[in-house]
């Protein structure tokens, strides 16, 4: 079983938005998709998934509509709204900045060749 990682606070929203960018999807789908794409590293339990979906819905970033699933079951499909799309852009930029910054701070550790102590 692959190792799972705790999610950084606030990243779940970003992951959901990014996943929904591909098109409308139900909650189960979102969770599965994130798990797949991350090679089973990110496993999202319903305990955090559904409150997050509802939070985004209340913020008006995603919209929910009842539809039928692949196997013809009634399911709630979430899709990105225009504001949500804009928000995704901003969040991606923020994430970019953040991860670059973190990478820079951690670079000596990650790349021993650049670490003077390790190389000596």
């Amino acid at each position: 079983m692959p190792q799972t990682t705790d999610l950084l606070q606030g990243t779940l929203d970003l992951l959901i938005l990014q996943t929904l960018d591909a098109g409308p999807m139900h909650g189960w789908g979102v969770a599965q998709r994130i798990q797949q794409v991350s090679n089973e590293v990110l496993q999202i339990g319903q305990g955090s998934l559904y409150p997050a979906l509802h939070r985004l819905e209340y913020k008006g970033w995603i919209r929910a509509d009842w539809g039928s699933s692949e196997n013809n079951r009634k399911a709630k499909f979430y899709s990105l709204t225009a504001t949500g799309r804009k928000q995704l852009q901003t969040e991606l930029e923020t994430w970019d900045r953040l991860s670059t910054a973190i990478a820079q701070v951690l670079s000596p550790v990650l790349n021993p060749a650049l670490n003077p102590e390790a190389s000596s």
Binding site: G45, Q46, G47, Y50, P51, Y58, G60, R63, K74
Partner: protein, 880 residues
């Protein structure tokens, strides 16, 4: 953007149906099962794994719900409903809490509304924080004043002020001569006065500079009160000629309704001061007219800075105008306007507010203790709620909601109580506490009350809220916490300490008041009344006319039946104005002068011979003035025994001569009168000089005299005759008759007010503290019932049990009492200036207060202790 808001808005009102979430989750589980089956599990196993993976369903549901915007508002409503249900279920508890709070909040609100204007509320002038009273003071006049002779120099050369303005010192009686004549109070101010205070007339305008000149046009500004009562708020009053003191004056303005002179005097008609700076330097012996002056500090200039900057001007004035012996006694004084108005009552205002807050604190402690007791009882309920998923924050919020509800209910009841208390205050109120008659409950006071109740809720809500329900509480047996009992005990110690402080303060004031009431005044007050007649100065414009009037009045009153003696004086002791002298200026032949500025003041009174007879003041040596003396050219004096002992310590004073002041004439002592309480009820007696009021016009100049009459009939019976006699001489003059008992009683009004209020607070505080003590001890007793059973089974006698439980109470009483005693002894110094003939650390007072507190508190512990003592051991052992 708009759509986002619309979405948000929609969710505020549309309630998401709960089953939608359930359906969503069901779908999730089904998908999960399907995946597991595909992975090769059996149907049952797949379902089991899916449910395990799903985890706490209820928690998820709750969390989704909490994402809703405005979700917390719903919980507040829920908390309120829950709290109200609780209140209804436990009505006695609810009433006890609300009553306690109402007393605390009500007392504080009432007192706050009284002291607000004295201590906090901004004065009704623009830039009121920068307004000051400026002037000189000396030992006989402690309120700042200036003389026209130097006012203009100061005004034109000062640097620290933006503006300076003046008003007349005293309103004087003046006549409005119209078809509806009335006697009014007239005052004057200069053109700069209203702008300085930032006041503009409601109608018309301020005086123009050309009207504020010596022979300018005769114009007046009238008060709103006069405009309303006399002219029915006629807008055409402007430019109307009204007849004041027999000559016409044109009305140019009407003052605002709530306008108040910074001296707190009242006046109906205001003239321009119309002073001539040049002639002011020559009039009145070169000093000019006296006046009260006010100024506005430049922004950023402090009073201390202003004083430093004004000092050179003052020194110059002092050294130019005053002969050396006077200089030492003269000082520059600059005070904030608030201090000028209320300095002498600020201390008592703080004391009253402090005591009211102390009562409130005791009330809060009581309620906290009650709530904690109930918290114990509800612990299991709270633990169940916590176990069902209520978060810590949620439980705290629930308790705080209850506290806030209690507080608001208490505040509402307190407001009603405050209204009642305020009426009592106003009835009791002495005139010497300014603004009290105007005190009322307005929006500002109401907001204060609401704030107060919130603070209270915080105080007594937080303590019980911080008790975490423990898991142990879920167990079937109740386990009592020792720690919480400790907290309640310390609350009780605090309550006892505070009531000790209140009690000792009240006891000191009570003793002082008693001393004041019981002291000998040195004169007879029963059957004596004073007749005050306000002669309009324009018709009685010479000393001769005034004298003639009073001599006729004297003769007329003497003709009445039942009248003993009819004397005439400047005033009557113990309050009353006196023409004071400085002791240091008295000069006796053959004796050195006292050093300037030492020896204090000497009271002076100008009286007719019957003054001593009317007040029954014995002449202990020599003789009284006689009717013949009144017609002679000699000016004999009578001195009080106190003065005789000071200036003629070794000799017989009769026949000796002395000079009362530097300019005064030489007088011969003909008699020595017994000492009279002549400087208010509290102050030390002053030595006194009585000079004779002869039938010479010059002896009647200055302040309007007062007739002092003794009568064997009741004053009520004589009063109408007196009025008709005076009316027979001049039917228009107002006559004011007051018994001396009333006059003296009025002097005691303020101490009576202070004492009554503080005693009331002390009583409330003690009552509540004792209730708190009783509550805690009975709680402890019930808590230890089982222990008592065990002890009795092991052979403890009932007395042992009584001692055990009462001991608990005694510890609290001793601790609280000692703490309170310490604080009282430290704080009593504050009361010092209010006390008469009793030290702030009078041991007898403290002993009796300690005794009282101990007795009351002990009985509060003995009742529950006795109940504990009577418990049957078998019952106690089985007690759950």
């Amino acid at each position: 953007m708009i759509s986002e808001w619309l979405t948000r808005f929609r969710f505020l009102f549309l309630r998401q149906k709960p089953h939608e979430l359930d359906e969503e989750l069901r779908f999730h589980v089904e998908q999960s099962i399907e995946r597991n089956i595909v992975a090769g599990m059996s149907a049952d196993e797949a379902r089991r794994q899916a449910l395990i993976e799903l985890g706490g369903l209820e928690r998820t549901r709750e969390q989704c719900h909490e994402q809703r915007p405005g979700w917390w508002m719903g919980t507040v409503a829920q908390d309120v409903r829950y709290a109200l249900r609780g209140f209804r279920r436990n009505l006695v508890f609810t009433i006890a809490v609300i009553t306690t709070l109402a007393v605390g909040i009500g007392a504080t609100t009432a007192v706050f509304s009284v002291v607000d204007r004295i201590l906090f509320r901004s004065l009704p002038y623009a830039h009121d924080d920068r307004l000051v009273s400026v002037g000189t003071v000396h030992s006989l006049e402690k309120q700042e004043f200036m003389m026209g002779g130097f006012f203009f120099d100061w005004r034109d050369h000062q640097k620290p002020f933006e503006a300076m303005a003046a008003q007349g010192t005293m309103p004087h009686a003046c006549d409005l001569v119209e078809n509806n004549p009335a006697q009014l109070d007239c005052l004057s101010f200069d053109t700069g006065f209203l702008p300085l205070l930032g006041i503009s007339p409601v109608l018309g305008r301020n005086f123009l500079p050309e009207e504020d000149r010596p022979s300018g046009p005769r114009v007046v500004i009238i008060s709103y009160g006069l405009w309303q009562s006399h002219y029915n708020r006629d807008p055409n009053i402007l430019n109307r000629q009204i007849d004041v003191d027999g000559s016409p004056a044109r009305v140019v303005g009407v003052l605002p309704k709530d306008f108040q002179f910074p001296t707190l005097q009242s006046a109906d008609v205001i003239f321009p001061m119309a002073l001539n700076p040049a002639t002011q330097k020559t009039e009145n012996g070169g000093f000019g007219n006296p006046m009260r002056t006010f100024a506005r500090l430049k922004p950023g200039v402090s009073i201390a800075q202003a004083r430093a900057e004004m000092e050179p001007l003052f020194v110059h004035t002092r050294d130019t105008w005053l002969p050396p012996p006077y200089r030492k006694d003269f000082h520059l004084s600059i005070r904030s306007l608030r201090d000028r108005e209320t300095q002498d009552v600020q201390l008592i205002a703080w004391i009253l507010l402090g005591s009211a807050l102390a009562v409130l604190l005791i009330a809060c402690a009581n309620v906290a203790s009650l709530m904690m007791a109930r918290g114990e009882a509800r612990e299991r309920e709270l633990a169940v709620r916590a176990a069902l998923g209520a978060s810590r924050g949620r439980l705290i919020r629930q308790t705080l909601t209850e506290a806030a509800l209690f507080s608001f209910a208490g505040a509402a009841a307190g407001m009603a109580l405050a209204e009642g208390l305020l009426r009592i205050f106003v009835d009791l109120a002495p005139t010497s506490i300014p603004f009290l008659k105007r005190a009322g409950l307005d929006l500002r006071i109401a907001s204060f009350t609401v704030l107060l109740s919130l603070v209270c809720a915080g105080l007594f809500g937080l303590l019980p809220a911080l008790q975490t329900p423990r898991v142990v509480a879920l167990a079937a047996r109740t386990v009592k916490s020792r720690k919480r009992t400790l907290l309640r005990c310390s609350l009780v110690v605090g309550q006892i300490a505070i009531s000790m402080v209140l009690l000792s303060g009240a006891a000191l004031l009570l003793r002082s008041f008693q001393n004041m009431e019981e002291q000998r005044l040195g004169m007879q007050t029963g059957g004596v009344f004073t007749v005050k007649i306000a002669l309009p100065s324009f018709r009685y414009n010479t000393d001769q006319k005034q004298m003639d009037f009073y001599l006729r009045a004297e003769a007329a009153l003497r003709r009445l039946p039942g009248i003993g003696a009819v004397g005439i004086s400047d005033s009557v002791p113990p309050g009353g104005w006196q023409g004071d002298f400085r002791y240091a200026e008295l000069s006796v032949e053959g004796r050195p002068h006292a050093a300037p500025g030492t020896g204090g003041s000497v009271a002076g009174r100008k009286v007719t011979p019957d003054y001593f007879r009317a007040l029954n003041i014995p002449i202990v040596r020599g003789r009284n003035f006689t009717e013949e003396d009144r017609r002679s050219s000699q000016s004999p004096v009578i001195i009080s025994r106190l003065l005789a002992a000071r200036i003629f310590p070794d000799d017989d004073p009769i026949g000796k001569e002395f000079q009362a002041s530097h300019e005064g004439s030489v007088s011969t002592v003909v008699g020595v009168a017994e000492n009279v309480k002549n400087s208010g009820l509290i102050e030390q007696d002053l030595p006194e000089i009585y000079s004779l009021r002869r039938n010479v016009a010059s002896d009647w100049e200055g302040r309007a005299p007062l007739m002092v009459v003794s009568s064997v009939l009741s004053p009520e019976a004589v009063a109408p005759w007196v009025r008709s006699q005076i009316a027979g001489i001049d039917p228009t003059v107002p006559v004011q008759i007051e018994t001396l008992d009333q006059t003296v009683s009025k002097l005691a009004d303020r101490p009576r007010f202070e004492t009554a209020l503080l005693s009331f607070f002390a009583f409330c505080g003690l009552l509540m503290a004792v209730i708190g003590l009783y509550g805690v001890i009975s709680f402890v007793a019930t808590q230890r019932t089982q222990e008592i059973g065990v002890r009795m089974a092991l052979g403890a006698t009932r007395v042992d049990i009584l001692r055990l439980i009462a001991g608990e109470g005694v510890r609290l009483i001793v601790l609280g009492g000692a703490l309170g005693l310490g604080v009282s002894l430290a704080a009593a110094q504050l009361l010092k200036s209010l006390l008469f003939n009793v030290g702030p650390r009078d041991p007898a007072i403290y002993a009796s207060v300690v005794l009282l507190l101990a007795l009351v508190a002990l009985s509060a512990t003995l009742i529950p202790a006795r109940t504990a003592m009577k418990v049957e051991p078998v019952v106690a052992l089985r007690y759950e």
